[in-house]
Amino acid sequence: MNEKLYLEDEENLGTQTEENYEQVYCRPNTLTDVPFHYCPGCGHSVVHKVLMEVVEEIGIQEEIIGVAPVGCSVFAYHYMNIDMQEAAHGRASAVATGIKRVLPEKYVFSYQGDGDLAAIGTAETIHTVNRGENILMVFINNGIYGMTGGQMAPTTLPGMVTSTSPYGRDVSMVGNPIKIADLLCLLPGAYYVTRQAVHNPNAVRKLKKAFMKAFEYQKQKKGTCFIEVVSNCPSGWKMTPVETIKYLEEKMFPAYPLGDLKVPKN
């Protein structure tokens, strides 16, 4: 466990010693000390933390390899204190396939945004799941291209304003948002498909459980586990973090309903 104590009250630093405090929280060992570069209120930070908490709690830090995408989370490997590879845009699941095939006893996951996974990397996504690659795919659906400055994503909602849909997404021109998780459920290779969120503590707890399950299934070599996280992008959406929560609840969740989409038959 990380010995560092995070003292909120700066003024007390001079008088209080560390023994006066009971440590109730610390960063998991599976996160490095590098501060996240994510915008305040961005879901990426929470997902990183929850994922790495799970890795620490089930004790697989030495046995896991992650794949970071091209997107805002391209630097995930700076934060996650595990062996990682950074993939070309859209190809994280192919890279993960390459790793898993030569290290079948290790845990492997990919972490991808919606542009990465559901636009440029659609072919890799579908075929990875169709092969039932025994990996976890983490899919951050924030309805926008965060990294490149807020362009339209394949998951952008109808009417949603982005820098390349400045008058709102016109579905007659560019089609409807793609529900890739629903599509993937049709493939026998998909073992566990669920849609989660990180907008409140309860959602975070549920996501954590989903990660736990996914790694357990991977251990049992069951096939592909796919966890979508319907997330936010305060900068791209041009909203405060609090406003994004409202937008998530009012617009995103109705379009992308939370919950399990495919669970193992018992």
Partner: protein
């Protein structure tokens, strides 16, 4: 391995593509990822046929959904420390270029085989050397080079698998075998390399799971700060400088040559016949065949420029390697070119006529 003393025990009549695939198994590759395309599909066909029948072989063979996926699987497996390869032909190699650039930047060893066909576009399935620029000058984006070996026989299709992996692993750099459709398809006698005779160095940089006593390993090609990127660029350039010492070439009758043919791969096979035909007529022709086309034998060509009247570059393309020959000789002697495109192949006589017509000028 039983055949250590009697190497001919492993002599077989094989297609170039199959000899290459068999050599890959004997090089103990951990994984092959590929997508079918003529004229090299025999590679993946051979591997998918052989591996399940040979219990001693643990190689992963996977037909990917595209060349884009293949090369990125290669990236993942190479980054995890595996000995890994892919093979394709021209359009498929074009599709791989982004991934190859990432592999070069992340400094991952691997083997990429290009059994070249005529282009541009979908082109023809007939043999060509039209991908010379792509193979030797980079191919994808950014400043990088592959180590490129150009076989000229079925024997070399097999042998160069070992040589390519050796170099790739020594320099942590992707290596390419630049063949062509004819070399892939033709059958010749081949003495196969001994199985298991290619040792593999440990890869402490690989992502195999982070033990407690080391920092996490990261495979990336992203260096966002320009200062950092430039350092990486400089390191790569230093490496390419070191790789120059690996240059290989073959000379045929250059000792007394007054005219020098320069050709690689299949073209060099045809030129050998031209050398004989010319010498029967009393014309002293020699041949230099680059075996590595990156690194390129610039220095030797420069030396030979002091000896010969002119050089003639022979290629199955519109004239690509000829630019390197001209660079090498620095204008000391005239450098001519003869080639055919579109999958057409020159005859030894065509080349001899060209030699004679230049000589008469």
């Amino acid at each position: 391995m039983e055949n250590k003393t009697n190497k001919n025990g492993d002599a077989r009549l094989m297609k170039g593509n199959e000899a290459l695939a068999e050599a890959a198994l004997r090089a103990n590759i951990d994984a092959y990822f590929g997508y079918p395309i003529t004229p090299q599909s025999e590679v993946i066909e051979y591997l998918t046929r052989e591996v399940p029948n040979r219990k001693e072989i643990k190689t992963v063979v996977l037909q990917a959904e595209s060349e884009v996926a293949s090369i990125n699987m290669v990236y993942g497996a190479a980054g995890a420390g595996a000995r890994v390869m892919t093979s394709s032909s021209s359009p498929g190699i074009s599709l791989m270029q982004e991934g190859i650039s990432y592999i070069a930047s992340a400094q991952l060893p691997c083997l990429i085989v290009n059994v070249v066909r005529g282009g541009p576009g979908l082109g023809t399935i007939q043999p060509s050397q039209g991908d010379y620029f792509q193979a030797t000058k980079g191919g994808g984006h950014g400043d990088y080079h592959l180590i490129v070996l150009a076989p000229a026989s079925v024997q070399e299709m097999a042998d160069f698998v070992f040589d390519a992996f050796k170099l790739a692993e020594k320099y942590r750099n992707p290596a390419m075998i630049l063949a062509d459709g004819a070399l892939g398809q033709m059958m010749e006698k081949v003495i196969l390399p001994e199985a298991g005779s290619l040792p593999k160095a440990p890869a402490p940089w690989a992502t195999t799971g982070k033990p407690k006593d080391r920092d996490h390993n990261i495979i990336t090609s992203l260096f966002i700060q320009p200062e950092e990127m430039e350092k990486v660029n400089l390191r790569l350039q230093e490496k390419y400088e070191a790789i120059q010492s690996e240059v290989r070439y073959e000379e045929i009758k250059t000792d007394d040559a007054e005219i020098l043919l320069v050709a690689f791969g299949l073209s060099s096979r045809i030129c050998q016949k031209t050398v004989d035909l010319a010498r029967e007529k009393g014309i002293k022709v020699g041949l230099l065949r680059p075996i590595t086309v990156y690194p390129y034998p610039y220095a030797r060509l420069k030396e030979l420029a002091n000896q010969v009247e002119f050089m003639l570059t022979v290629e199955m393309n519109a004239g690509q390697m000829v630019e390197d020959v001209r660079l090498a000789v620095e204008g000391k002697v005239p450098v001519y070119f003869i080639g055919r495109m579109g999958g057409m192949i020159l005859s030894p006589e065509d080349i001899l006529h060209k030699v004679e017509s230049v000589k008469e000028k």
